[in-house]
């Protein structure tokens, strides 16, 4: 039975537990068929549909203990973000289960929930409340948030659509870093703003981690991963290839990447050679001269 459950915090055991996790997407016209199936055939699946399914992630099992910072590495399109979404509960698994103990702060998209027509202040209150902060909590931290985001007081009451993209992202990070959820899911959002702001972000994350909070981080930046993570999951082709410390995971990933680049070079060289050979055959002496 595929499911996602959320329990209370502090019951012991792993904070995040995934068992045989899998999710399938429809390719081609399958989704339209699924609509038709729903109304006509009920839940029975069309057995011929198998070939149209694509599993970005399948049979993934792991546990994350309290206080861990887990880095997820892998090529583009191997299901890293999908895995994060499954943990966050914004995507439901087709197979297996995820158990999450404690509240989750999904830092999947820093600007999520910001409304362009509202002012910075209104947005802070709106998004903060959406994430479960009380009005009093936001009142107390408002100064700090605006200060951290480096937004000049005269701009905080103008609509967010007049903000630069940097200002929006900074405000988003400043707000979300105030959340006190014990589990944080981060998807490539560490590197926001300019150099000086980035440093502030890193410090904020260090503070959060020191506080016995659990973090799952998807990133392509080896520097970030090495800096924060103590564990690494290497996702390859939709499955969990390695579950070790971050160094080993990165090494395995780099090794595979090297092999792949070598293969691609070899293929290109072969193609070139084949093309040249073809030219020689076709054009006779001229081609031979050029070579």
């Amino acid at each position: 039975m595929a499911q996602t459950t959320y329990g209370a915090e502090g019951t012991g055991g792993p904070v995040i537990e995934a068992k045989g996790l899998g999710v399938s997407f429809a390719v081609n016209r399958r989704r339209k068929r699924s609509l038709r199936e729903m109304f006509i055939h009920g839940s029975k699946r069309d057995p011929n549909a198998e070939g149209d399914e694509f599993w970005p992630l399948r049979d993934v099992s792991f546990e994350v203990a309290r206080g861990d910072c887990v880095g997820i590495v892998g090529k583009n399109g191997t299901g890293k973000s999908t895995l994060l979404k499954l943990i966050a509960g914004v995507l439901m698994p087709d197979e297996g289960e995820v158990h999450v103990r404690g509240k989750v702060a999904p830092l999947l998209e820093l600007r999520a929930g910001f409304n362009d027509n509202l002012t910075g202040r209104e947005n802070v209150y709106l998004v903060g409340s959406l994430h479960g902060m009380s009005e009093k909590e936001i009142d107390e931290r408002f100064e700090e948030i605006v200060d951290f985001a480096e937004i000049k007081p005269k701009f905080i009451d103008s609509p967010v659509r007049h903000y630069s993209s940097g200002m929006k992202v900074r405000l988003g990070f400043a707000l979300i870093s105030q959340l006190e959820h014990p589990i944080m899911l981060v998807d490539e959002v560490l590197a926001v703003g300019d150099k000086a702001f980035k440093r502030k972000c890193y410090e904020a994350i260090d503070r959060m981690l020191a506080n016995q909070r659990t973090m799952v981080l998807v990133s392509h930046s080896e520097k970030d991963l090495r800096r924060f993570c103590n564990r690494g999951l290497y996702i390859k082709g939709g499955g969990l290839a390695l579950d070790t410390d971050i160094e080993a995971a990165l090494d395995a990933y780099n090794e595979d990447t090297k092999v792949e680049i070598a293969e691609r070079k070899k293929r290109e060289a072969e193609k070139k050679r084949a093309a040249e050979a073809g030219r020689e055959d076709g054009e006779g002496p001229t081609g031979g001269q050029a070579a």
């Binding site: 999710v23 914004v90 995507l91 709106l126 959406l130």
Partner: protein, 278 residues
Amino acid sequence: MASRTLAVWEHRKVVGLLVRRDLKVKYQQSVLGYAWTMLEPMAMTLVYFFVFGVILEANRGMPADAGAYGGFLLFLVAGILPWTTFGQILGEAPRAMITHSKLITTMKVPREIFPLATVGTKFVEYLLTWPVLLVFVFALGGRPSVGGLLLWLPLAVVLTFMFGLGVTLFLSSVNVLLRDVERLTRILTRLLFYGSAILFPAAMVLDSEDVPGWAATVFQLNPLMGIFQMHRTVWFAGFEELTPTTLALTSSVVGSVLMLIIGYWTFRRLEMSVLKEL
């Protein structure tokens, strides 16, 4: 199911926030925000009054002595104001999930709250039409009764929004997978407007000799027809012709409950695919 309802209840604050946000965005941009939203139904009422009342004489379906209690004009206003709200629900329903895709794909909340917030916003806007409606009722001399205010009015409002929520749950999820729904809805809204007898008394159809018996039955099976008759009968107490027939009343109640069940069932059924497509 019960735990899911509980989860939605626990997130009622989020629904409130979304409703407040939508209203704020809508009304802060223009100074005359409220006046504008009222201007459209008022202008339409005037047009319909001249076209249907004066030129086509649809008012001949009104009871003879109703003229003293507001007549055809009050009849139109009392129908068009709630219909405007309902039409807006139909208009926004298909996009209720799509417009929130960013939030839905990053925040773990029961997904039902987004259609709920859309309908909630419309409910507040419906309440805002009341001052205008009351002005017309008093100016034209509508005849409300205690029974009408205690029975027909609450029933009409509850059924309107129950039906609206069902439709929104249904359309918002199906439209994610099949975007044609949005256009289809626009056409259906038009048809329903005329099929629900907003511009003429339903008795004109029911008592007409040109309409065969089965057609009259089908006409009364449209739950919206009965619902909007209720909205108006509140101000025309004692006029049998303007009160829903037993069949119309039954189909309104059963139809609304059924629509909510179908809508919710579809929503839950499609939830997994919808999340993947957003």
